[in-house]
């Protein structure tokens, strides 16, 4: 049987809590073998989508397929290869890390029990495995949560805000772990409001706002929105601004501290802009494309959607 290229496929997914719509007609496709970010403000509907994908709550409409299988009809077999942390990892505080893993491994089956030592080592918890979880730091709890996910030898890991409460070292550790997991051919679907981390960790992302999917695709594509800007450092910004007025490659321009910021009309006008300035005697010492961060793009996208309402 051909393996589906997508690990998660949601179509027309909707969920209401009473009169309040939490997720509206959401279509989402997550390809296999990548780190996929799921972005949205608090209350945007990220956790609700995750809970529906895990069968923790039922959608009011729409279909979900995980690893090509219909959900929830094949829920048990699908979730046998899915590891998840929803919102934050919870444990029995009076049990040790190892015992907490035993509790979940018992539910998953004998293969999972055999993996306990391995996943503890993978989470860097071997030395503290026999300490009660009550004494674990937030970072250790996150690592134990990921270790618990790995008991399933998962094809898909779903991590809901996994960087919450982690210090910079913990975030770096988690980022490395996510990339290692992707390197093993697993898919990591992670929701986060730490947009910089998603940009650094994920290959692709989707943006949800007020329950609607507003953008999805590879991170590089999300950062390009068809508008490209150029910072020009020059010795006479006023003259440069006059020279570029009406230039075919320039949609608009404005002066900045040491030059101009130009919005390009097309992608191939940089050379002609440079030639125009240099030929007119303007000293150009810098031509730099403006890279918008994911955070700026996210804020642009979500405020645009907000403005439409």
């Amino acid at each position: 049987m051909t393996q589906s290229p997508n690990i998660i496929e949601c179509s027309g997914l909707s969920k209401r809590f009473g009169e309040r719509p939490a997720v509206i007609d959401l279509d989402l496709t997550v390809p296999r073998g990548c780190a996929y970010g799921f972005l949205g403000h608090n209350g945007a509907g990220k956790t609700t989508v995750i809970r529906m994908v895990l069968g923790l709550t039922e959608p009011n409409a729409g279909t979900i397929r995980v690893a090509g299988r219909p959900f929830p009809r094949e829920r048990a077999s699908v979730l046998a290869r899915v590891g998840a942390i929803v919102e934050e990892p919870h444990f029995h505080a009076h049990l040790t890390g190892r015992e907490n893993l035993r509790v979940v491994a018992a539910v998953r089956g004998p293969e999972a029990v055999a993996r306990i030592d391995g996943v503890l080592g993978r989470g860097g918890l071997t030395d503290r495995a026999d300490d009660r979880v009550r004494g674990y730091s937030q970072g250790m709890r996150q690592r134990l949560g990921v270790a618990r996910c790995l008991l399933a030898d998962p094809a898909l890991l779903i991590l809901d805000e996994p960087m919450n409460g982690l210090d910079p070292a913990g975030i770096l550790e988690l980022r490395t772990m996510v990339r290692d997991l992707v390197g093993e051919g697993r898919t990591v679907f992670l929701s986060s409001h730490l947009l910089d981390e998603v940009e650094k960790t994920c290959d692709a992302a989707a943006v949800i706002d007020r329950g609607r999917l507003i953008a999805a695709g590879p991170i590089g594509e999300l950062l390009r929105d068809g508008r490209s800007e150029l910072d020009i450092g020059c010795d006479d910004p006023r003259l440069a601004l006059d020279l570029l007025d009406g230039h075919r490659a320039v949609a608009s321009a404005k002066t900045t501290g040491d030059g101009l910021r130009v919005t390009l009309a097309g992608a191939d006008g940089v050379a002609s802009i440079n030639a125009r300035l240099v030929e007119a005697g303007v000293g150009v010492f810098r031509l730099e494309p403006v890279h918008e961060s994911l955070e700026e793009r996210f804020l642009t996208m979500t405020s645009r959607v907000g403005g439409e309402r």
Binding site: L56, R75, V78, A80, V82, V103, V104, A106, V107, G109
Partner: protein, 258 residues
């Protein structure tokens, strides 16, 4: 679900219970501790004035301890352990993680019952073993319990304990709150039921009380055993007290938003 997984899940439930020091400590106190106190106090009284105070052991002492274990302190032990088993996953937040494994919610509920019964019976069994020993050691020449009485009492205590554990696990799984479960079940079983038993105006309605039916089947002498409920009715009432709360707990576990 295979037998191996069922066994693993029950063992995991037992692990959760037995590693809870507070629950285990109180369970020990309510079972073994109370029996030590009952026999110890009576033994001291008897030693101080044998003409006025009966021996702590013998059939009388044995019967008193069996009643205490079956209807009161053994029941408290069962409620404590049953409430913990019924609420531990919800209270800790781990229920969501267990559901996310894909294992059926009903199986997550049903493994709680044998685990809680096993742990509760370990305490009550130890207390009962102590009771047998004390009945002989402190008999001081009075008649001692026969093997038949001991066997019947053991069976009755096991039955009472299982039913009360199932009751507490069911209510715990229904409410999801340990505090609410303990208050409701202890309040009902230890306070309200005893008050209702004494409300003669209620007549045969009282036959539906768990304590009345347990008392009816109690093999040793005692006030509650003088109720006069038909054995078949008592058995049906006991079954209802085990099955109805369990069914409600299973239903709630099945539909609970994780």
């Amino acid at each position: 679900m295979t037998l191996t997984i069922a066994r693993q899940m029950v063992a995991a439930e037992v692990l959760k219970l037995r590693r809870n020091r507070a629950v285990m400590g109180f369970a020990l106190l309510l079972s073994v501790g109370v029996i030590v106190l009952v026999f110890g106090f009576q033994a001291v009284e008897h030693a101080s004035d044998p003409s006025k105070n009966a021996p702590a052991g013998g059939i009388e002492g044995f019967s008193r301890a069996v009643r205490v274990l079956g209807l009161f302190f053994g029941a408290l032990t069962a409620i404590l352990i049953g409430a913990e088993a019924g609420t531990a996953d919800s209270a800790s937040g781990v229920f969501r993680d267990l559901v996310a494994t894909g294992r059926s919610r009903l199986s997550l509920f049903f493994v709680r019952l044998p685990a809680a019964i096993a742990v509760s019976l370990a305490f009550v069994g130890a207390a009962f073993a102590l009771t047998i020993g004390a009945a002989f050691v402190f008999a001081d020449g009075s008649p001692t319990p026969t093997f038949s009485l001991i066997a019947q009492s053991a069976g009755w205590i096991v039955l009472a304990n299982m039913i009360i554990v199932a009751f507490a696990v069911g209510v715990g799984s229904l409410t999801g709150s340990r505090a609410v479960t303990l208050t409701a079940v202890i309040g009902w079983q230890m306070v309200a039921s005893l008050m209702l038993l004494n409300a003669k105006a209620l007549g045969s309605v009282r036959d539906g009380l768990l304590t009345a039916s347990l008392g009816q089947l109690m093999p040793v002498n005692g006030r509650i055993a003088e109720f006069g409920i038909a054995t078949g009715v008592a058995v049906a009432v006991l079954a209802a007290w085990a099955i109805i709360p369990s069914a409600l707990g299973a239903w709630r576990t099945h539909v609970r938003d994780a």
